[in-house]
C-alpha cells in the first residue's frame, strides 16, 4: 500500500472562517470530516490588513451595498466590526464542533488573507475554504484566496460551496495512474462516508486504461467496501470534463496535485465544477 494511503493520515483540519455563506459550508464540511476521522478542527479568522489600511486613508469612502450611497469608512468602527465578525466565527465554530463533540481551536490572525491562511495552521493536514469568499464581483469562478491556495499552497485543500455536502454522498476521483491520483484515491477512501459511492474516472486515452486501473486499484477499493463505478473518459479539456462530471451527478471531486494532465485543464475543471473539490498534495 502506498505510504499516503494509510488510514488516520488526516488528524487535523483547518477551516477558514469569515461569516460568508461559503465559509459556513466550509465549516460544516470540515466538521463532518473531523467528526468522521476523529480529527481536530482548527478555525482560522483573518482580519484583512488591506481593509484596515484602506480605512485609515483619509479620502476613502465606501459605496454601500444596499443603498448605493457613499459614506466615510471609520477605522475604529471597522476594527469593532472585524472583532465582532471574529467573535461570531468563533461562536459558530464552537457550536458546530460541540454539537459533534470535536476537539477544536480558534485562531484570529491579522494580515493578508491568503498568506495568513496558508501559514496559520502548519500542523493541519487539510485546509478547508470557500470557493469564493467576500470578493466584490460575486464571480462564478474561484475567489482570490481559493486561487492562491490552489496555486501556491502546499497543503491539501478542500474548496467548498454552499448547498453541497462534502463527503456524505458520492465521491469522484480522477485517475491517470500517477502517484498523485493514487494519493487522491487514498484520501477519498479515507474520508468516504458509509453511504458513499466512488466514481473513478480514468483519463488515460489508452484503450486498456480502465482495465489497468481496475487491476491497480481494484484490491484497494474492494477492501474498503465502498461501491465503485469506473468511467473511462479520455478527455483533456477541463470544461468537457466538468460537463461529464455534472452528468454523473457525483459529489466531492478528489484530485491529486501531480496528475499527468495540463495545469490548464485542471484549472478549467476546478473553475467550472459545481461540486466541492479536494486537491490532495504530498507534503
Amino acid at each position: 500500500m502506498h505510504s499516503s494511503m494509510k488510514t488516520g493520515m488526516i488528524r487535523s483540519i483547518a477551516v477558514a472562517l469569515d461569516c460568508s455563506p461559503h465559509s459556513r459550508a466550509s465549516l460544516v464540511a470540515a466538521a463532518e470530516l473531523a467528526s468522521r476521522l476523529r480529527a481536530e478542527l482548527i478555525g482560522i479568522f483573518v482580519e484583512d490588513i488591506n481593509l484596515l489600511h484602506m480605512a485609515r486613508l483619509p479620502f476613502i469612502e465606501e459605496v454601500r451595498r444596499y443603498s448605493a450611497k457613499t459614506g466615510k469608512l471609520d477605522p475604529d468602527q471597522l476594527e469593532r466590526l472585524l472583532r465582532l465578525q471574529a467573535r461570531q466565527a468563533g461562536e459558530m465554530l464552537q457550536q458546530t464542533a460541540e454539537a459533534l463533540t470535536i476537539r477544536h481551536t480558534f485562531r484570529v490572525l491579522r494580515g493578508m488573507v491568503p498568506e495568513e491562511l496558508m501559514s496559520a495552521a502548519p500542523e493541519a493536514d487539510i485546509l478547508v475554504l470557500g470557493r469564493s469568499g467576500r470578493s466584490p464581483s460575486c464571480r462564478k469562478g474561484l475567489g482570490s484566496t481559493a486561487r492562491t491556495a490552489l496555486n501556491e499552497g502546499k497543503k491539501t485543500v478542500l474548496l467548498m460551496r454552499p448547498g453541497v455536502t462534502a463527503a456524505e454522498g458520492p465521491l469522484l476521483v480522477l485517475y491517470d495512474g500517477s502517484e498523485g491520483s493514487m494519493r487522491a484515491l487514498g484520501v477519498a477512501l479515507e474520508i468516504a462516508g458509509p453511504e458513499s459511492v466512488l466514481h473513478l474516472i480514468v483519463t488515460d486515452p489508452a484503450p486498456d486504461a480502465e482495465e489497468l486501473c481496475r487491476q491497480a486499484v481494484g484490491p484497494i477499493v474492494e477492501s474498503s467496501g465502498i461501491p465503485t463505478e469506473y468511467h473511462h473518459l479520455p478527455l483533456t479539456d477541463g470544461h468537457q470534463l466538468a460537463r461529464y462530471i455534472r452528468m454523473i451527478d457525483s459529489g466531492l471531486l478528489v484530485l491529486g496535485d501531480r496528475l499527468d494532465m495540463p495545469a490548464e485543464t485542471l484549472r478549467d475543471l476546478v473553475d467550472d465544477i459545481d461540486y466541492p473539490v479536494l486537491i490532495v498534495r504530498q507534503e
Binding site: N50, H53, I60, V63, T70, L78, L81, P136, S137, K140
Partner: protein
Amino acid sequence: MQVPEKLAPCQLFSQCDPQEFEFQTTADLDGTIEIAGQQRALDAIRLGMGIRHDGFNLFALGPAGTGKQSAVLQFLSSLAPEAPRPDDWCYVYDFEKPRNPKALRLPPGRACALSSDMDHLVETLFSVMPTAFSSEEYQSREKEIQESFQEQQGKAIEVLEREAQEHQIALIRTPGGFAFAPTHKGKVIESDNYMRLKPEERASIEKEIEILRDRLQSIMAQIPKWHRESVEKIKELNREVSGFALKPLMGEIRSKYLVLVDVVRYLDAIENDIIENFDQFLEKAQPDQELFMMQTSQKQMSRGRFFVRYRVNVMIDNSSMNGAPVILEDKPACQNLIGDIEHSAQMGTLVTDFTLIKPGALHRANGGYLVLDARRLLMEPFAWEALKKAIRTRQVRIESLAQLYSLVSTISLEPEPIPLDIKVILLGERMLYYLLSTYDPDFNELFKVAADFEDEMDRNHETHLAYARLIGSMAVREKLRHFDRDAVARVIEQGSRLAGDATKLTTNLQGICDLVHEADYLASGAGRDTVTADDVQAVLDSQLHRASRIQERLQEAMMRGTILIDTDSEKIGQINGLAVYSLGDRNFGRPSRITARARLGKGEVIDIEREVEMGGPIHSKGVMILSGFLGARYAADQPLSLSATLVFEQSYSGVDGDSASSAELYALLSAIAAIPVRQCFAVTGSVNQYGEVQAIGGVNEKIEGFFDLCSERGLNGHHGVLIPASNVTHLMLRSDIVKAVESGLFSIYPVSHVDQGIEILTGVPAGEPVAGGAWPPGTVNAMVFERLKAMAEKQKSFASDHEKDQTKS
C-alpha cells in the same frame, strides 16, 4: 211531566262485539295502517303538498297524540319517492372573496365526486410539482437566469475592477459595501506611505478613485433593477412549468364537468391559484430542521390551512336519496335549521374556514319536505324568525348567531346563500296555531294551509278495523304480542271511553299505544303468546289504581265523615252535586254537598262562591240563570221577594262550570218549598231559564264517583244519579256499575227538565200549570209558588208599614 224511566243496562255501555271481526288475532291482518277519521286533515295535507306555490306550507293542528306526525309522514312517504331527486350542494373557496365561500350546485351524487377529484388533484400535485421543478431542464433554466443576473452584475463590477487595477487601485469589499483603495504590489498603501506621495500623485489617485466610485455607484443603482428582472423571469418560468404540469390533470377533471358552467369556472379559478402558489406543493415538512416545536407546529398548521382552499365541503349529498327528502328535525334550534359555521381552536385562537360550514335541516330538506314540531321550534331562540326568513326569501343564509350578537369576535365567513325550494310542515296544538295566526303577521302568509286533526272519530266498523290495524302494525313494528279480537274489542271500548262518547273513538293514539304496550307486558308476564281481553282489562284496572291516590283519600274522608256527604236521608235545601277533578291526564268525579237557604229579601240568589271569588264566571252565570228561571216561572206577576244563598259546602278551592246548576236549582226549590230531597241521589246537569236540563262533560266520571261512595257504604237499591238526557249517548260506564244497574242496586235517570228531576228527588209531583197559570195543589211547583207569594205579600206589608211610619213622622 212524566218522570223518565231508569236507563237500561245496555244504555250504559256501548259494547264492541268481537264477532264483527273476521280475524282471530291481529297477526291475521296485513300490517298496513290506514289513517281513519281524519279525512278533513288528509285533504288539507294533500292540498298543501300539491300546490308548489309560495306560502303553501302546512300547519297540522290538533291535540298531542292524535297521530299528526304519523299521518303527515305516512302521506309524505308515499309522495316523496315520486318526486325528483334534488341536486347536491357544496361550498368551495372563493378565490376573489375568501370571506364569502361560494355555493356550487351539482347533479345528485356529483358533489362527492368533485370533492374526491379535488383531494386527488392536491395529492397528485405533491408528486407532480416537485418532479416538474426538479427536472434538469427546469434546473438549468433557473440556474441560467440566476447566473445571467450574477454574470451581469459580476461583469459590470469586474470591468470596473480591472480598470481600477490598471491604475494600481483595488476594489475591496468592506463589511457594509465596497471601496477603492490605492495599492502597491497587491497591498493597500498604508496611510503614512500615502501621505508621503507627492500631492499631484495623491490628487491623481483620488480623482481616479472618485471616478471609479461614481461608476460603481451607478452600477450598484442598477443591481436592484437587474434583480427584479431576473425574479420576474423566474416567476414566468415557474408559471410556465407549473402550468404545464397542471394542465393535463385539470383537463381530466374539467372534462367530467363540462356542462356545469359554475364548476368549470371554479376549476379555472383553482388552476390559476395553483399556478400562482406552485411553491406550496414543493415544500416538504422538515421537522428536524426546526429548533422550536412551536415554530414547527405553527408553520405546519398554516401550511395545512393553505391547502384547505382546494377542498370541497359537500353540504348535501343526494347520491343515495330515493326521490325527495323528508326530514324530521327533532331539535329545531336555529343552527340546526339554517346550519352553522363552526370554529376550531388553534394555539388559543378560534379560526374557521369554509370546510367548517355545517348544513342545517333546511339544506337537507331542500327540494323536499321538512317536518317540525311547532312548540319546540318556538321554544328555540331565533329559530322561528330564521325559518320564516328562509321561507320568505326562498334561500338559506347561514349566519353565526354568536357573530351576529358579538359574542365572539373572530374572523367569520359569510357563505353565499343557497336557493331554497321546500315544503315546511309544522305540527302543533290548536292554541299555537290560533295564537300565531292572530299575532304573527307573517304566519298566515307563509302557512296558508291548516290540517285540522279531529280529537275523535265516529265509531263504526271501519274505525273499529282501523284500531285493529293500528294494534297489529304496532305489534309487528315494535315486536309485541298480537292481540286477539276480544282484546281488540276491549281496546276499542276504552277508545270510546277516552273519547267520552259511546258513539265516538278517541284519536289520541298515544293513549292507545301506551295501553297496547302495557297489555303486552302483562301478557308476557303471564306467559301468553297473545294478548287477551283480560290483559287489557288488567291494564285498565292497574292504570286506575296507580292514579287513584287522591281519589281514594277523598273517598276515605267522605267515609269517615270529614267531608259531609249524605247518601241515605232526606234533607231540605240540600243535595249531592257532582264535580269532576282533573289531575294530569286523569279525571275522576266525586259528590259535593250543595245547600240552599231562602228568606225574605229583594229577589236575589246569592252565589257564595262568587261573593268570595272562588266561583268562576260560568258558575256565576249558571246561578244567575236560576234567578231568571224562578222569577219568570213563579213571580211573573209579583215581586220576587226572596233572598236565597247557594253554596258548595266544604269547597276550599275554586268552582267553575255550570254542570251543578240543576242541582242548585233543586236545592233552591227544596229550600223554598220546604220539601226534603232524597240524599240517595246525586245530580248533574246544567239548566237554562226555561228549566230544561242541558248536557255536561265528564258524565261517566261523575256517575262513577258517586257510585264508588254508595258502593262502599252499601248499595240498597235506592241510590242513583240524575243525568241530562242528552248525555245518555256519552255513557261508557265501568262494568261494575252496569252490573249494579242490572241487579237493581243502582239507577241512572235521564232527565230533560227540572220538573222531572224534582219529582224523582222529592217523590212529590212537580205539577203542570192548569188553565189560568195556577199550579195543582200539593205539587212542588204549587208549594214554591205559594211560598214566594207569601213572601211577596209579607214584603208588601212591610213596605206599607214603613210608608205609614214615614208619613206619621
